[in-house]
């Protein structure tokens, strides 16, 4: 069976972004970009399922600018078999990305579609659920365990207070949470191999999808800054301050 994995190119996890002085967005020029960490977990899970013999082909997809090819090469180096870039310079919002992915799901007919639960740039946590809705498929968000047998998947997902287990018929959409797995390091031979794997580029128009943004960003501003307080010399002073100054205990 085939798996489709969506990966997003985002500002690297370790970069502290700066808001542009004209308040139009954050400064992403000359900033390190990487694969969204949750998408890395998603691709790793697909590769593990392939290693177990459950999945036979992994198609990695990214939607965005031309440089997303680098992100797709990383996915190929982790173990995807081929890649598709839906190239667009437009501000691709979750609904638009879900529609693009839906078009590719129709074309590729995967049994399992994996995404990260959330991208660390816009922090939306929407695309997987939207794709599942558009394709009328079951969704398991924040998955931490996946077992597949006989056209069904049993998955555990992280919820408030603990976990819950769902059984879904395939095809299904899952979004990966932190504990699903720990992605492997990409090795140099695999990076070299990835360069030879097929990478197809399509445009939203080719898929018949209107990607016009539905949400207009009017302004991006700095959050209120919290200033550092004081250092206390010992526990006794700390307790006294909390009691008499902050009055919180």
């Amino acid at each position: 069976m085939k798996a489709l994995v969506a990966v997003k190119r985002v500002v690297d996890y370790n970069v502290k972004v700066r808001v542009k002085s004209d308040n139009t967005g954050v400064d992403t020029a000359n900033v390190k970009m990487s694969m969204n960490p949750f998408d890395e977990i998603a691709i790793e899970e697909a590769v593990r399922l392939k290693e177990k013999g459950i999945i036979t082909e992994i198609v990695a997809v990214s939607c965005g600018v031309s440089q997303c090819q680098e992100t797709l090469r990383t996915a190929l180096a982790i173990g995807a078999d081929r890649a598709i870039l839906v190239e667009s310079a437009e501000d691709l919002q979750p609904l638009a990305v879900a529609k693009l992915l839906k078009a590719l799901v129709d074309k590729e007919q995967p049994s399992l579609i994996l995404l990260g639960k959330q991208a660390i740039d816009d922090d939306s946590n929407q695309t997987g659920q939207m794709l599942a809705a558009l394709a009328d498929l079951p969704q398991v968000t924040c998955a931490s365990k996946v077992e597949i047998s006989a056209g069904k998947a049993t998955m555990t997902r992280e919820i408030d207070g603990g976990t819950e287990t769902l059984e879904v018929s395939l095809p299904a959409v899952l979004t990966a949470d932190l504990r699903l797995n720990e992605p492997r390091y990409v090795t140099l031979p695999n990076i070299m191999k990835a360069k030879k794997k097929p990478l197809e580029i399509v445009k939203p128009e080719d898929l018949g999808v209107d990607v016009t943004p539905r949400i207009k960003t009017l302004k991006v501003s700095e959050p209120p800054q919290r200033s550092a307080g004081i250092k206390v010399p010992d526990v006794a002073t700390l307790v006294a301050k909390l009691k008499t100054e902050a009055k919180v205990i």
């Binding site: 609904l95 922090d123 939306s124 059984e167 307080g229």
Partner: protein
């Protein structure tokens, strides 16, 4: 203009975040309806009818709604959506799972983790782990929004009960079956609603030390226990204790960070706390840059001292 708030509940009582979501709904303007979709959840519906400002409660009862499976809840709400200008969910695990599914079914965008209502169609929300605040305008006719509960006060529950109207259930989704859940038994306050949170980081060194030091401190303060991602990754604490960008967002009166260095992803989850205390032996730890009171000390000495000072 009417706003529909999707109540979060366990079929018996409403979850705390629902009350904060009603406050956000009031700020959007217009009437407020609350939907309780569940199974044998009349008690939750009755509780919703007492929330200040709620004009009507819609109650859908169906066996497939017993566990809040997103696909089923969406199937039942979808048909009601057209009468509303806004549909609000709390930004909890449940709300975040259902809201985007509903939005896509309605072919509208969704606004995540809304922190402020500027006008009926314009909202603020944090992006990049809270390192930037976006002001966004929704261009769709129906605004589907998840609400960050810590940014809105809880609505009062002192009104005479409003009408509770039964809604005929729709067909179930059918391709997803709830198999069971494991909810950790926990006598402590809920992490996102607690007035005091004690959080531990990797510096605690082991799951034993994590519990040995933080449990008695939390007991003394009637606090919830949280953790940094590093502590969760290391297996010292369960995943749902994680405070941060992709974990829980908390804003208690008092947040005590023990052995947490303060990565930006962690700060994103707790920097709206009223008073922050940091205990860390590294004077350069970024957590000190947001702490009201910083104690540069070995936590294995300082925490037991703090526990006895509070006795």
């Amino acid at each position: 203009m009417t706003t529909l708030v999707i109540a979060e509940h366990d079929n018996t009582s409403l979850k705390a975040a629902t009350f904060n979501t009603v406050t956000a709904a009031a700020q959007c303007g217009g009437d407020i309806h609350v939907l309780v979709a569940g199974h044998n959840a009349a008690a939750a519906a009755a509780a919703a009818s007492l929330i200040q400002g709620v004009a009507k409660v819609l109650h859908i009862d169906a066996p497939d709604l017993a566990h809040g499976v997103a696909e089923n809840v969406t199937a039942h709400i979808q048909g009601l959506a057209a009468s509303y200008s806004h549909i609000l969910f709390a930004a909890t695990a449940s709300g975040k799972s259902i809201a985007p599914r509903l939005a896509a079914k309605l072919d509208v965008a969704q606004v995540s983790e809304m922190t402020k209502v500027i006008s009926p169609d314009t909202f603020e929300r944090p992006i990049y782990a809270g390192n930037a605040i976006a002001t966004v305008q929704s261009l769709d006719a129906i605004k589907v929004i998840t609400v960050r509960a810590t940014n809105f006060d809880a609505a009062q529950t002192n009104q005479p009960a409003c009408a509770v109207e039964s809604v005929v259930p729709s067909a179930s989704f059918g391709k997803t079956t709830y198999m069971g859940s494991e909810i950790a038994k926990n006598d402590r306050p809920d992490l996102t609603a607690a007035t005091v949170v004690v959080s531990g980081g990797r510096a605690l060194g082991s799951v034993e030390k994590f519990n040995e030091l933080l449990a008695p401190l939390a007991d003394k303060l009637n606090a919830a226990v949280g953790a940094s991602r590093a502590a969760v990754d290391a297996g010292y604490a369960p995943n749902d204790w994680q405070v941060g960008q992709t974990g829980k967002i908390v804003a208690p009166q008092l947040y005590i960070a023990v052995g947490i260095s303060g990565a930006i992803q962690h700060l994103a989850g707790m920097k709206d706390s009223k008073v922050i205390v940091a205990i860390n032996k590294d004077p350069e730890a970024p957590i000190f840059s947001v702490a009201d009171y910083g104690l540069e000390a070995d936590l294995f000495v300082a925490v037991p001292e703090l526990i006895s000072a509070l006795s």
